[in-house]
């Protein structure tokens, strides 16, 4: 047995690599996805270096230039309080990413724990967790986030939890189904019948499959959380001003649009393009990992 494993292992590793490589090759051919990836990368870089390139602090209100149109001093203009819009956007990107990534992580971690538990333990635990999943799917998670945000209050960390906690159900269901398909999958069954070891089965068959599904679901999760965060701001449960966020800027600007369109040009276009980019990437990943499935 041991000999068999050591013989097959190198093959397995090579196969895995080529499977991911195949996916990457398919992804690369999809220009929308590659374009999206470039924009997402820029978005991340801005999020990281934003505070260093911001000309002002986001709490600095220029009282002498309220509602100022774009100029050399304020390249994206200022709002009714005199906040520099360029600075606001830089910080919005940063907070948006922090919240979206944080929330996705929270959802994912809860989802993994409960999904593994349901899949591995079975029985009552499985039934209860799946009832919970049904419950979470009965209403859009945005409403749960809304209710949770009342309890948690406003701020960066509460928002991560408010958005992240209700998002667990989808991941839990995915992980559970992966666990079940691993345990009962025909391919695994066949491999086991041929005498492959557990580690070999895991490395050769499960790993690429599982990684693919998870990457795809995370790639769809991040833009959804970006959207949820902006949505919460629009109903007034987002970050408290002066902490900037896209949702606040959009809600605020559209309610006093007349005369100050620059307040909307920049955040609206950047936010829309970013969501589009994320979705192109996610769509590209889905096709790359699962070329025949889906639509």
């Amino acid at each position: 047995m041991a000999i068999a494993v050591s013989q097959t292992r190198p093959v397995a590793v090579k196969k895995n690599r080529s499977q991911f490589y195949q996916s990457w090759k398919r992804f690369r051919k999809n220009y929308f996805a590659v374009g999206g990836l470039v924009w997402v990368a820029i978005f991340f870089i801005i999020g990281i270096i934003g505070p260093w390139i911001a000309p002002y602090s986001y709490t600095d209100a220029d009282f002498l230039a309220m509602h100022a149109p774009p100029s050399a001093h304020h390249i994206f203009g200022t709002d009714q309080v005199g906040y520099d819009q360029f600075t606001q956007i830089l910080y919005s990107v940063r907070y948006a990413l922090e919240i979206a990534l944080g929330a996705t992580c929270v959802s994912f971690i809860i989802g993994i724990v409960l999904g593994l538990w349901a899949g591995l333990a079975g029985g009552i635990a499985d039934m209860l967790i799946m009832r919970g999943v049904d419950f979470m799917f009965a209403l859009p998670s945005f409403f749960f986030a809304l209710i949770l945000s009342v309890l948690l209050g406003k701020g960066l960390f509460p928002m991560i939890l408010a958005i992240g906690v209700p998002g667990w159900a989808g991941y839990a269901r995915l992980i559970r189904s992966l666990v079940l398909s691993m345990r009962n999958g025909e391919m695994v069954e066949a491999a086991r019948a041929l005498g492959a070891s557990q580690t070999h089965i895991a490395a050769r068959y499960m790993f690429p499959n599982v990684v693919g599904s998870m990457v795809v679901s995370l790639a769809f999760g991040i833009p959804a959380d970006l959207t949820a965060q902006a949505g919460l701001s629009i109903v007034g449960m987002g970050l408290n001003p002066p902490m900037p966020s896209f949702g606040n800027m959009l809600a605020n600007a559209s309610s006093n649009i007349l005369g100050f369109p620059w307040l909307l040009y920049f955040p609206a276009s950047i936010f829309a393009i970013t969501l589009l980019a994320f979705l192109f990437v996610a769509d590209g990943l889905q096709e790359a990992f699962n070329p025949r499935g889906g639509m």
Binding site: F135, F143, L151, I234, V235, S254, L264, A272, L275
Partner: protein, 321 residues
């Protein structure tokens, strides 16, 4: 008979789900910083009444005390509240303590319902032909245009689209379509389009994939062998079969549309349920907030139930369980 039992079972499940939602909401709001009743909102709303009309103030306060039973243990309060909500006995809101929630929702609810349903209807009416044409003209520029548009529509959330519309029709081309308010048909145009964009994309993409798949089926070849002409073939055999499963997509999509309605109303300043939510939550008007979520949730779940029944009706193979 069978239908009836299915309906009853699902209805009970919906009631329990809603009860759980209400209970969880109540507990969370009870535990929230400041607590359920001791918010400044109530105090400030009641202050002028207290000064002007002490009798009314006394009455309102008593009403609140009795309704929420704030000196009872939490689980009793919770049960009591759930019961009140499920029997549509919503009580008064905290921002307007002298007015019942029901009277305030009376005008708001129909607006949201109109928005959500008309945009869903529009998405089906536009999405199906788009998907059908894309499928029939597969791998032509028409197909690529439809597919790309659908993807863009799906990627951009309705409220961002609403903001873009505000920019276009509020700044660039003013006075073509109104970007705020509610009352006339033209007021509804932009919100409905914002809300319909994503479902149109979903429906079109789904329809395209499904029709391509259906047209490869054996029974299409049978129909061709009968001499059925092109359009009857596509419509009666192809589209008819693809449409049955489409309903399973429209159902969940409706939930997204309802969330979208809440947000879009806030962008276009439409006095619907979404605007009520946008008022109630940040102002800690808890009874109003919970009730609005309860009503939207109920609408969604009942709609989904009706969709399932409809699905069973149009696809003879579906067995309700």
């Amino acid at each position: 008979m069978f239908m009836l039992r299915f309906f009853a079972k699902r209805f009970v499940a919906i009631v329990f789900t809603l009860a759980a939602v209400i209970a969880i909401s109540y507990i969370m709001m009870y535990e929230s910083p400041g607590g359920f009743m001791s918010t400044s909102q109530v105090a400030s709303a009641l202050a002028p009444i207290a000064a002007q009309n002490p009798v009314l103030y006394q009455k309102v306060m008593e009403e609140f005390q009795q309704r929420y039973g704030l000196n009872l243990p939490l689980w009793r309060q919770c049960l009591q509240y759930v019961w009140h909500e499920l029997t549509f006995n919503f009580g008064n809101s905290m921002q307007n303590p002298t007015q019942t929630i029901t009277s305030q929702l009376k005008t708001a609810l129909p607006i949201s319902v109109i928005l959500a349903f008309s945009s869903t209807a529009l998405s089906v009416v536009i999405g199906i032909p788009m998907g059908v044409i894309a499928a029939l003209k597969r791998n032509t520029w028409i197909d690529y245009t439809v597919t790309t548009l659908s993807m863009v529509g799906q990627a951009i959330p309705s409220f961002v689209l609403a903001v873009i519309f505000v920019l276009i029709f509020g700044v660039l081309w003013q006075n073509i379509l109104p970007v705020t308010g509610w009352g006339t048909f033209s007021d509804a145009v932009l919100p409905v389009i914002s809300l319909a964009a994503a479902p149109i994309g979903v429906v079109a993409r789904y329809m395209r994939g499904s029709l391509i798949e259906t047209m490869r089926q054996d029974f299409i070849r049978t129909a061709k062998s009968k001499g059925v002409k092109y359009w009857p073939l596509v419509l009666k055999h192809g589209v008819r079969n693809s449409m049955t499963a489409l309903i399973t997509v429209v159902g969940p999509q409706f939930a997204f549309t309802v969330v979208g309605t809440v947000l879009v109303e806030n962008i276009f300043a439409i006095p619907g349920l979404g605007k009520v939510i946008g008022n109630a939550f940040p102002n800690f008007d808890f009874p109003m907030a919970i009730t609005s979520v309860f009503i939207l949730g109920a609408i969604m779940m009942i709609t989904n139930l009706i969709v399932d029944l409809f699905y069973a009706w149009i696809d003879p193979r579906v067995k309700l369980q």
